[in-house]
């Protein structure tokens, strides 16, 4: 870890460790939350956004460092969304708003896009947009007959049907009724809808890896402290087998995240990202199940903190395309890139240089 990343980790930790996850849990919080304001004050919400556009600068590794901590603390902040919007906006001609921002990928099933001269008209309901109700703007990427378009929605363009996921995070439906965007509010997108989804899925995977590291700590501590049959349950082979599987899943996740983050902007880095997303999704399922099994009944109570972490894993593993969708995309990617006979070189000959 570089000095820069160590500083990010320490700062995010300091800010988020003051947040009581319980008080910001299932109960609707007053916005902007205290932790968001503090992250903003420390310049962390603009990490990954160029300084010339109003951000704090920094690489995707810096972004991932902050998002890992968000997962580790199970905090309710739209940091991943703001950073994804910061990356997407950085490929447009627009300045950064300072956040919080969010991103959604529109699809033809629920969003109708018409071009009217220089105006863009949007109709439809985009379901479960993360943090839509608190966003200063929503960036929408949508496919059209002239290629992917990037549109910038501001609060007056839409109405909200509030929604909340199992982890207590806002997932609002955004309702667009003949929303008209003048020409400076939309432009061709240099990122495809697929690229945006993959970047979003990778960001979720990074936070999920952070969640899992906390779950491993909670679970080993519980197995150490909890006694049955006159000794700590960690002394039982049956529990040891579960703990070992849990640790291996967490190790696997952290390693594939590290690689995917390294290669995220490489010309042929998509396979690393997709693999990390799939593997972390699988790990999320296994880790949540094992952790609950070891914790026993106390782990499924509201009082115990385990559910703040496991509920995030259950929600995040499905966002921006889940395990099955990205597994299929891997197979397609391998087919397009020379078939299975080139698989080995696809994995081992990545050029770290940015495309």
């Amino acid at each position: 870890m570089s000095d820069e990343q160590a500083l990010i980790t320490a700062t995010v930790r300091r800010i988020l460790s003051q947040t009581n996850v319980r008080s910001e849990g299932q109960i609707v919080v007053e916005w902007p939350s205290r932790s968001w304001r503090e992250l903003e004050g420390a310049g962390l919400t603009g990490v990954g956004v160029e300084e010339a556009r109003g951000g704090s600068g920094g690489s995707f590794t810096d972004v991932a460092t902050a998002l890992f901590e968000v997962g580790r603390h199970a905090t309710l902040v739209p940091l991943a969304e703001t950073m994804l919007a910061g990356w997407l906006g950085g490929r447009s001609t627009w300045d950064w708003s300072g956040g919080p921002e969010t991103v959604s990928v529109g699809d033809a099933m629920n969003l109708v896009v018409r071009r009217n001269g220089t105006e863009l008209q949007l109709d439809g309901i985009i379901p479960a947009v993360p943090w839509a109700r608190v966003a200063t703007r929503i960036l929408i990427v949508v496919d059209s007959e002239i290629g992917p378009l990037l549109a910038r929605l501001e609060p007056e363009d839409f109405t909200i049907e509030p929604g909340i996921n199992l982890a207590g995070e806002y997932r609002d439906a955004v309702v667009l009724t003949s929303a008209r965007l003048i020409s400076d509010r939309w432009q061709p997108s240099s990122a495809t809808t697929q690229e945006v989804r993959l970047r979003g899925a990778l960001m979720r995977a990074v936070s999920a890896a952070g969640c899992m590291s906390s779950i491993l700590e909670l679970t080993t501590a519980y197995a150490h402290d909890r006694e049955q049959f006159g000794r700590p349950i960690e002394k039982f082979q049956a529990i040891q087998q579960l703990l070992a599987r849990l640790a291996a899943e967490v190790f696997a996740s952290s390693i594939c995240i590290r690689n995917a983050v390294t290669f995220v902007d490489a010309e042929d880095g998509a396979l690393a990202s997709m693999s990390a997303v799939v593997r972390v999704s699988q790990a999320a399922t296994n880790v949540a199940r094992i952790a609950h099994q070891i914790h026993g009944a106390i782990g499924i109570t509201e009082e115990h903190s385990l559910h703040y972490f496991t509920s995030r894993l259950w929600c995040w593993r499905n966002e921006f395309g889940g395990e099955t969708e990205w597994s299929r995309e891997i197979s397609k990617y391998v087919r397009i890139h020379g078939g299975v006979n080139h698989l080995w070189s696809l994995m081992t000959e990545i050029n770290e240089e940015i495309s």
Binding site: L216, T220, H224, E234, Q237, I239, Q240, Q241, L243, A244, R245, A247, A248, F251, A252, I255, C256, R258, N259, L271, A272, M274, S275, A276, V277, V278, R279, Q282, E323, T324, W326, S327, R328, E329, I330, S331, K332, V334, R335, G339, V340, N341, L343, W344, M347, T348
Partner: protein, 321 residues
């Protein structure tokens, strides 16, 4: 590749070696004869061996002329390795070794074996009193019996040591330090790419089969295997980096072997599920042949080099530290 030049080595980095052996395995190269001597005997000799032992064994290993076998398991000592009963008794100028080793890979072809023996009476600490000896397998008192597996191949052998005399210069490392030396070896044995690439040729053959006949279900299963392969490659590389930097990452190594050998089995199960065949080992069709071979080989993956259950015990104990 990594060994000192004075023994014929290349003084390359551990990572350079990692790349080469991974490429060899991915290509399905025949590597078995040389494998153990290069992977763990050489590093053990360099770490614990005497100058004479290094000078005698390392150059012929480098030339590919000298093969080694691992003498750890015994008929009554499998997972519980510290219970070995092969005894080394001190005698004038050397040791007399008696006992029996089993599941010794390629002992019928190897020239030497490093045997873990009890060299002094068992005390309260069962890990003390063990020592490693280099045994010449061509000695008349050594009897090697091949063991046919259910595949019909004799990969393993049983090695009977009938009062074999070995000179004192064949004691490896310090007397009584056998347990520590064996554990140092196991970090090399458990984390390498051979722990997730055994069925890679089958994965490739499956990819070829699916090329002609893919659907979204098959794509999802195959893509998931690729994601896991990628992850294991990265994990194994990360352990190699730590080994190369002089650390002994035994817990991480155990996790690589646990997940890696599960993956090797998953490849077989997915291949069988997506393209079921009559299991004909002699088939001229590559996929069919590899599938039949892999089905028979698969049960050994999670046994050899430490069973899954033993590895998980090691990992769980590591979590307490």
């Amino acid at each position: 590749m990594t060994w000192p030049k004075r023994y014929g080595g290349g003084e390359q980095s551990g990572m350079a070696r990692f790349v080469v052996i991974e490429e060899l395995l991915a290509a399905g190269a025949p590597v078995a004869a040389h494998w153990i001597a290069e992977r763990q005997t050489g590093p053990s000799l360099l770490r614990f061996g005497s100058d004479e032992q290094r000078a005698k064994f390392l150059p012929p290993i480098v030339r590919g002329e000298c093969f080694f076998a691992i003498g750890m398991s015994e008929p009554d000592s499998g997972s519980d390795l510290a219970s070995v009963r092969t005894v080394a008794r001190a005698t004038e100028g050397g040791w007399i070794i008696s006992g029996s080793k089993i599941w010794t890979s390629h002992a019928t072809r190897a020239h030497f074996m490093i045997a873990l023996c009890r060299s002094s009476e068992r005390q309260s600490d069962r890990h003390s009193g063990l020592s490693q000896f280099i045994i010449d397998l061509s000695s008349p008192d050594v009897h090697v019996r091949p063991i046919n597996l259910m595949s019909g191949h004799a990969h393993f052998a049983e090695v009977n040591l009938d009062s074999v005399y070995v000179g004192e210069e064949m004691l490896l490392g310090d007397e009584g330090s056998g347990w520590q030396q064996v554990n140092a070896e196991l970090a090399y044995e458990r984390s390498g790419p051979e722990r997730f690439l055994s069925t890679y040729p089958l994965l490739c053959a499956l990819g070829d089969v699916l090329e002609e006949n893919c659907d979204s279900f098959a794509d999802a299963r195959f893509g998931s295997l690729v994601a896991n392969l990628w992850t294991l490659h990265s994990m194994s590389e990360s352990v190699a980096e730590q080994l190369s930097a002089g650390f002994a990452p035994q817990f991480e190594a155990a996790m690589v072997k646990d997940l890696g050998t599960q993956f090797e089995n998953d490849v077989v199960d997915v291949a069988s599920a997506l393209s079921p065949r009559q299991l004909l080992e002699g088939s001229s069709d590559v996929f069919t042949r590899l599938l039949a071979q892999s089905v028979l080989a698969a049960p050994a993956f999670t046994l050899r080099g430490g069973t899954t259950e033993i590895l998980r015990g090691i990992i769980a104990k590591g979590l307490n530290q």
